[in-house]
Symmetry: C2
Subunit: 335 residues, 2 copies
């Protein structure tokens, strides 16, 4: 792939890297200044040696891309990067369990390795920015919930991600609102929202119900036909949609808590729109309708009509939002 | 009182009105451009005829003050006004139960009556701005909780109150987190934070415990000596501090829920500081220590050390914050 670095009018184009570091793979995309995707890329996350090779791999990718495309640093507008952990305003990550990281200043390290201006953000905040920039630009405030293995969130106000003083704003997954939980959360508390409303939580609750001797629905549940060790949240959704009582009550519980959790966030910031993304958003309107009903039942009445909608960008939100951390037009760069 | 409208250097001074409309009285203060208090005033809130005289009374006060002080509109920098209800960005109040108001555009109406630029805000948001401007200016984010008859809140980010799309941001009193509540809240839901953590909620819970036949502590509680119809939250605090078991458990419940509610807000915005004001803040460190313990037990660990402190300004926060809605130096004026 060879890219012309001069447009027809003689203007020099600029390119922006969006990097999304996940526990399994690193996704990357390059965008031009008109927000067009120039290319998308993916490579495995090397978690050996406490993840110490990851940022080197990112820098190597950037360098290779520039070499292959005849681009020098003068045409690179910046690198935006999302990581699965709390990120302070100066780019410091204070521990990323999924990557094996302790304290790492992602911005400083990647700037040292590449010589290119870098902005780092929490992955959910960055995905929120991607959804916002792609579909909701102009809203005064916007809350994004990502439902997957865990439950994360991102809050955009006035076009910028809100990070919080400890980099932990919008951590809706750890709202302390689940009152019927017996396990510890990965964070060390008990009763976090993600224990009920994540894919992991749904599977755990389904297995618990299936194993309950006192629940007469358990023995006849259609979930009994699945290999318990391989049960997924999608299985539970599928059986709930098909009318299974146990699966239905597990999904109802997840939706009830999620609606209540979103109502708590709304009480704090009263956003203009709430967007649900992540793998579980694939459950669609069946699930969203239950979440909306719980939200309306739990929220303070002036905000009962806040729209709750499905995310548009899917897996691309991460790289797109990351690039928007450094795109000047989106006015999202942190100081 | 006669005020010189010219300073020694020949500069024309400017004056700012801060108005705080409460259900019982209207408090007002005038500040000069250096933030000095020129005078403080108070008059009864006239709730006759659905509160339709209130803004006329405010306009009359402004006019009288200007006449008495030889001030014309050119030296008045603006009127900031706090009202006990949700206020939209354009100054519209969509119902104020305590004042008898339906939909009133406070800003437009007061500007029409006085000819002076006016900015309106929710009373708790305005008190938050007062605390912020007075003691915490420069913090990136700041959450204010006011504990009184109800529980209110104000969120300041980047020096400005966050109002929310429906004017209902920071309404911590209506977080849906109280799981052992049998009454309806004034908002129509059941289980709002203010049902447990307000002065009203504390009195109700104390009476409920005293009347409980199954509670062996009830008969010997020192609260039994009080006239039940006149019991106050202060009585409950006093007896709790003196070691009464019933009073202590009521206060513990209030603190537990309040700490959990603040943890929910922190999960959403991760503020730099949390400040507790309102009448109940007078209970002091005895209560705050319980709230802090609950907060630490319930909040996501990256923000467990967020300071929770007592407000400094007391009743003056309302008028001071209101004036800061229009003071240019505070950069808080809404568009």
């Amino acid at each position: 792939m060879m890219i012309m670095m001069k447009t027809d009018t003689g203007y020099e184009k600029r390119y922006y890297f969006g990097i999304d570091i996940g526990g399994t793979s690193v996704k990357a995309a390059v965008f031009d200044e008109s927000d067009n995707t120039v290319g998308t890329y993916e490579f495995a996350t090397d978690k050996e040696d406490n993840g110490s090779h990851i940022l080197n791999d990112v820098a190597d990718f950037v360098s290779s891309w520039m070499n292959e495309n005849g681009a020098d640093a003068s045409v690179i507008g910046g690198i935006g990067i999302g990581v699965p952990g709390a990120v302070l305003d100066d780019g410091t990550v204070n521990g990323c369990v999924n990557l094996g990281w302790g304290v790492v200043n992602v911005k400083a390290e990647l700037e040292r390795l590449t010589g290119i201006r870098t902005v780092a953000g929490n992955d959910a905040n960055v995905a929120a920015l991607g959804e916002y920039a792609g579909y909701y630009a102009g809203l005064s405030s916007f809350f994004f919930v990502t439902l997957g293995t865990g439950v994360g969130g991102g809050l955009i106000m006035n076009g910028r991600p809100v990070c919080g003083i400890n980099g932990a704003a919008a951590e809706i997954g750890h709202l302390p609102i689940v009152t019927d939980e017996d396990r510890m959360c990965t964070c060390g508390k008990k009763g976090c929202l993600e224990q009920a409303a994540s894919a992991t939580g749904i599977v755990h609750e389904a297995l618990k119900r299936l194993n309950s001797a006192s629940d007469s629905s358990a023995a006849v549940s259609s979930l009994q036909k699945y290999d318990k060790a391989a049960l997924t949240a999608k299985d539970v959704f599928d059986e709930a949609k098909a009318g299974d009582i146990v699966a239905g009550s597990v999904i109802d519980r997840a939706a009830e808590y999620l609606g209540r959790g979103i109502a708590c966030v709304a009480c704090a910031v009263n956003p203009e729109c709430i967007v649900i993304g992540g793998g579980m958003a694939a459950a669609g309107e069946y699930f969203l309708d239950k979440v909306r009903a719980s939200y309306r039942a739990n929220v303070f009445y002036p905000m009962k009509d806040t729209p709750i909608v499905k995310a548009e960008l899917g897996n691309d939100a991460g790289v797109y939002g990351a690039a928007h951390l450094v795109m000047p037009s989106s006015n999202n760069e942190r100081k």
